[in-house]
């Protein structure tokens, strides 16, 4: 393929429909920033895209070590796109450790850009390489482009008055410039962003811009790249767009709910990966009347949320799996006292501490059943990063109408992943009504229910005449006095259960993509949406009779779920767990759904689901997940 060096202008341009790039380097190398800037530029350029950042395991490991590697993957396309890509087409590896932990994922023939200078003996050793992979032929399956990034960057910054350690930190801008060039993107958005960001520190700004331009120009002048790629803009719905991560959308969604319900938002939380960003985000919005409370633990956060709900605020608490386990006893008090609040669980890989920075969908059954007694709870789960906004509002719509706690199941993949989002018009979002008790009631009965919703009235302290007592003991229906009457307990248990079941009348039916009936329905929930839809679409493109649907209301299920299931010969349920939705669906509808389980701390690849679809359709033999040589995106 090597050709004579063409003039800059007439470099061969290859047009592609979709490209996946991964940036990887030491946690100190600024890869998240590089990825984010590339993403923004790509979004503005008009591609559809999806991203997946991957952080090392919590602690900053020693520089250059395998556990210290941080990664960011972006997939962008000229057509609809729903996952950050199965296999990167290009990998930028800032050091040997980054190469080692990521090369296994690259597609054969993919492009590898490495900072050659970082491949010193000591760095190689830290990464566990006996000899340099750049020299021993182990990378022969790939297009390797070693560039002396560190040195080039140094040269570009010669005139900048900064210590050399700090100059070194501009390397990521150099790499960014190079990749922007490679995919025909402008450096303008990054220049603007840098000016705003580093405006107060001219030397740093200068350094970063020089590095950025040097990288860009290097691509333009060097002969190392024979081809430049072009991914034309996608045709997307007209409107105003932004780029948003799931955790941001979650925070904004709950803030929007607060505006729509006209109730102040109170967020009580104890920091935990990967939910902490919601706390960070919400704590910035005091001007919206948002009060955040960093509690002493998850139980206290749950308790504080209950107190706030009792007081009439929009009460919210958030955590990840181990924290939900801790909240369970107190959450049950919210169920018993029938107070409206929302619990966010940004799921991560378990059990126990598990793999805090890795994603999983394994808290569904905990959310359903993780409390003593019969304690039904409403559960919603967004399907994409941007959907987090919408489902957050839904969570409160349900909580306030039915006077129930609602669990909102996000996950690390959704929370940290991001996508372009057509900004909704706040005017289009309906108000959320609350059901405060009428202060003029005489003989107020705190457990007298609305006959339709079965919700009890919300009688908040400060209301004259409605003084009453609630608590965790069983209470007499209507009066709310303590009751150990057998029939009353039976009745109240049914009420608590039916109140949640009732919500079914108030949520949208499950939407199916693909044929209305047919050979196979692929049913999913949560963040697997992108992979499932794409796999089903691909299958249909190959003429297979495959539909897909994503359940976003997990308790109760959409009213039509049973009927939908009955329209397909087979049902496949891919989950990032041991088969939790499968169990619920099997128990409820007695459908012999086939579970497809991946418990690897990673999202599904489209190809994995495609292969499983073929297996279930009898088009191939049993499919086993293939994890490849080192398929670990980022830290070990």
């Amino acid at each position: 393929m090597t050709t004579e060096s063409p003039a800059r202008q007439d470099r061969e341009v290859q047009r592609l429909e979709r490209v996946t790039v991964r940036f990887a380097g030491d946690s100190g190398d600024g890869m998240q920033l590089t990825g984010t800037q590339f993403t923004k530029t790509t979004a503005i350029f008009g591609n559809d895209l999806a991203t997946l950042p991957d952080f090392p395991a919590e602690i900053r490991a020693p520089t250059g070590s395998l556990p210290g590697v941080s990664g960011f993957q972006i997939s962008f396309s000229s057509s609809d796109i729903r996952t950050p890509g199965d296999q990167p087409d290009a990998l930028v590896a800032m050091n040997p450790a980054a190469l080692k932990t990521n090369i296994g994922d690259l597609r054969p023939g993919g492009l590898v850009i490495v900072d050659e200078e970082e491949f010193s003996r000591s760095n190689l050793k830290k990464a566990g390489y006996e000899q340099s992979p750049l020299e021993d032929g182990t990378l022969s399956a790939f297009q390797v482009v070693p560039i002396n990034i560190t040195r080039q960057n140094e040269l570009a910054l010669e005139e900048v008055d900064l210590p050399s350690k700090q100059k070194f930190q501009s390397r990521n801008f150099y790499a960014l410039g190079l990749v922007l060039w490679l995919y025909g993107r402008s450096i303008e958005p990054t220049v603007k962003w840098a000016e705003a960001r580093f405006g107060r520190n001219p030397a740093v700004l200068d350094a970063n811009l020089r590095a950025l331009k040097a990288g860009y120009n290097f691509g333009d002048t060097t002969e190392l790249f024979q081809v430049r790629y072009e991914v034309p803009p996608a045709t997307v719905e007209p409107g105003l767009y932004r780029h948003i991560s799931g955790n941001e959308a979650t925070a904004l969604g709950f803030l929007a709910a607060s505006i729509k319900a006209d109730l102040p938002l109170f967020y009580a939380s104890y920091p935990i990966t990967p939910a902490s960003d919601v706390l960070h985000e919400l704590s910035r919005h005091r001007n919206f009347g948002v009060k955040t409370f960093q509690a002493e633990d998850e139980i206290a956060a749950m308790g504080a949320a209950i107190g706030a709900a009792y007081g009439g605020s929009l009460a919210l608490t958030g955590t990840s799996g181990p924290g939900l386990a801790l909240k369970s006893e107190a959450l049950n008090l919210a169920i018993m006292t029938e107070l409206p609040l929302v619990v966010i669980d940004v799921q991560r890989a378990g059990p126990s501490t598990g793999m805090p920075t890795k994603t999983e969908q394994s808290d569904l059954l905990q959310a359903m059943f993780g409390r003593n007694g019969d304690s039904a709870i409403a559960i919603v789960a967004p399907a994409t990063p941007a959907d987090c906004f919408h489902m957050a509002i839904e969570a409160y719509r349900i909580a306030l109408k039915y006077m129930v706690p609602v669990i909102y199941l996000s996950d690390g993949y959704l929370g940290n992943g991001s996508e372009p989002w057509k900004i909704p018009d706040m005017g289009d979002i309906p108000e959320i009504a609350s059901h405060f008790a009428d202060p003029s009631t005489t003989d107020f009965q705190p457990y007298k229910r609305d006959p339709e919703t079965l919700a009890r009235p919300w009688a908040i302290p400060g209301t004259p005449g409605l003084e009453h007592r609630i608590g965790g003991l069983e209470k007499s229906s209507e009066t709310g006095d303590i009751s150990y009457e057998p029939e009353n307990h039976h009745k109240m248990t049914l009420y608590r259960n039916n109140r949640v079941a009732n919500i079914q009348h108030d949520i949208p039916p499950l939407e199916v993509q693909g044929p209305e009936s047919g050979d196979l329905l692929v049913l999913g929930w949560g963040g697997t949406y992108g992979a499932i839809v794409s796999a089903a679409e691909n299958a249909r493109a190959q003429g297979k009779s495959v539909a897909s649907a994503q359940v976003r209301y997990l308790n109760p299920f959409p009213a039509n779920l049973g009927e939908v299931l009955s329209r397909y010969d087979k049902v496949l349920i891919p989950e990032l767990n041991m088969g939790q939705l499968s169990m619920l669906v099997r128990a409820k509808y007695l459908v012999d759904a086939v579970p497809f389980n991946k418990i690897a701390g990673q999202p599904f690849k489209i190809a994995e689901i495609e292969a499983k679809i073929d297996e279930v359709l009898g088009l191939r033999g049993p499919y086993e997940l293939d994890f490849g040589p080192t398929s670990n995106l980022g830290g070990a």
Binding site: P264, F293, I299, A304, A330, P464, L466, E467, G472
Partner: protein, 347 residues
């Protein structure tokens, strides 16, 4: 009772109906064992509440689980009988979002110091303006008689037939260490003093912590009798009075003085001069600590207000942040929704 004589007016001049003890008595049947010390505490609370001149609907009682924690059912205000140990967390959520409410926490030595110890500690550290009453009967009453964190070393109970092997916690010590800005102790049987302490606690701005020695006549009868019995009380209890020398005895003839950093009893001390003078408002906690360590039989047991200092309050600071933030940046949602970068896709 030093509560100011009432003219039926609230601070902002609005007329308030004059409330009485009866107005604070709910319609719920009281279900403690006959003779339980909880009755006296309830009665003093119901007597004291009208003196606060706060409308009933603006008062909330939050409790955990235990005999003591049944308290809210009996008070005609808003009430929340929550779960074991977590009352301070619920009170925190309520007070932070509704700072205008008057919030009481009722807890026991098990509820507050065993399962709920950490929440109590952090509530006190944060100095929310709430009033915490801990009923210390040195036993688990509701679960029928196991030892508690305040039970004496060696105590024989259902769960310690060979005697306990652990040192008790001293609630006032913990409160002082946690930074509570109001720390007091009272005794169920000394009703007048109890009512007074409850009143002062409720008036204090910031976290008030009151330990009440409460007799559980079923599972730990007479736990405090050695010094609270009427006939020995004067000699074995020390009523703290701000600005006064530490004196006790029928004729207040004995006193407490300091020897280096150690307190000592001075029997029949004619002169006040060398006695330790109580100063609840001293910012340093050394005096409060000295008092918290004094215990029968080496010392008379101090009751009253150990410490009462002013400090910034959590809910107030939080509210200020909200107001300040509002002044600095109007709550416009659109810019936030749009984020730092947007792009438009045209038809």
């Amino acid at each position: 009772m030093t509560a100011p004589a009432t003219n039926g007016k609230t601070g902002d001049g609005e007329e308030l109906p004059v409330l009485t003890k009866k107005d604070f008595t709910s319609d719920q049947e009281v279900r403690w064992c006959p003779g339980c010390g909880d009755y006296a505490i309830l009665a003093q609370m119901q007597k004291m509440l009208p003196d606060l001149k706060i409308p009933r609907e603006n008062i909330a009682f939050i409790s955990g689980i235990g005999c003591s924690s049944r308290f809210p059912y009996y008070v005609e205000t808003y009430g929340f009988h929550s779960i074991h140990g977590r009352a301070p967390t619920i009170a925190t959520g309520l007070k932070l979002t509704r700072p205008e409410l008057t919030v009481f926490v009722v807890t026991g030595d098990g509820d507050g110091l065993s399962i709920g110890g950490n929440h109590l500690l952090h509530a006190m550290r944060r100095n929310l303006d709430i009033t915490i009453i801990l009923f210390n009967n040195r036993i688990y009453g509701l679960t029928k008689g196991q030892f508690s964190p305040t039970s004496e070393l060696g105590k024989v109970t259902k769960s310690s037939p060979y005697g306990t092997t652990e040192m008790p916690l001293n609630p006032t010590r913990i409160a002082i260490a946690a930074g509570a800005t109001f720390v007091a102790r009272a005794v169920d049987r000394d009703t007048k003093h109890l009512e007074q302490v409850l009143y002062e606690a409720a008036q204090h701005k910031g976290t008030s912590f009151v330990e009440v020695y409460q007799n559980c006549n079923i599972f730990n009868d007479g736990a405090f009798a050695a010094f609270t019995d009427k006939d020995v009380r004067d000699d074995r209890m020390l009523y703290l009075e701000d600005g006064q020398p530490l004196r006790f005895g029928k004729e207040r003839q004995h006193g407490i003085k300091l020897n280096g950093f150690l307190p000592e009893v001075e029997w029949d001390a004619p002169e006040d001069a060398e006695l330790l003078v109580h100063d609840a408002a001293t910012p340093h906690t050394n005096l409060a600590n000295i008092l918290a360590h004094m215990d029968y039989p080496d010392f008379p047991v101090p009751v009253g207000i150990f410490r009462r200092v002013e400090a910034p309050r959590y809910e107030e600071m939080l509210e200020e942040q909200v107001q300040d933030a509002r002044e600095r940046a109007a709550p416009e949602f659109e810019p936030l929704l749009h984020g730092s970068e947007t792009w438009r896709v045209n038809d």
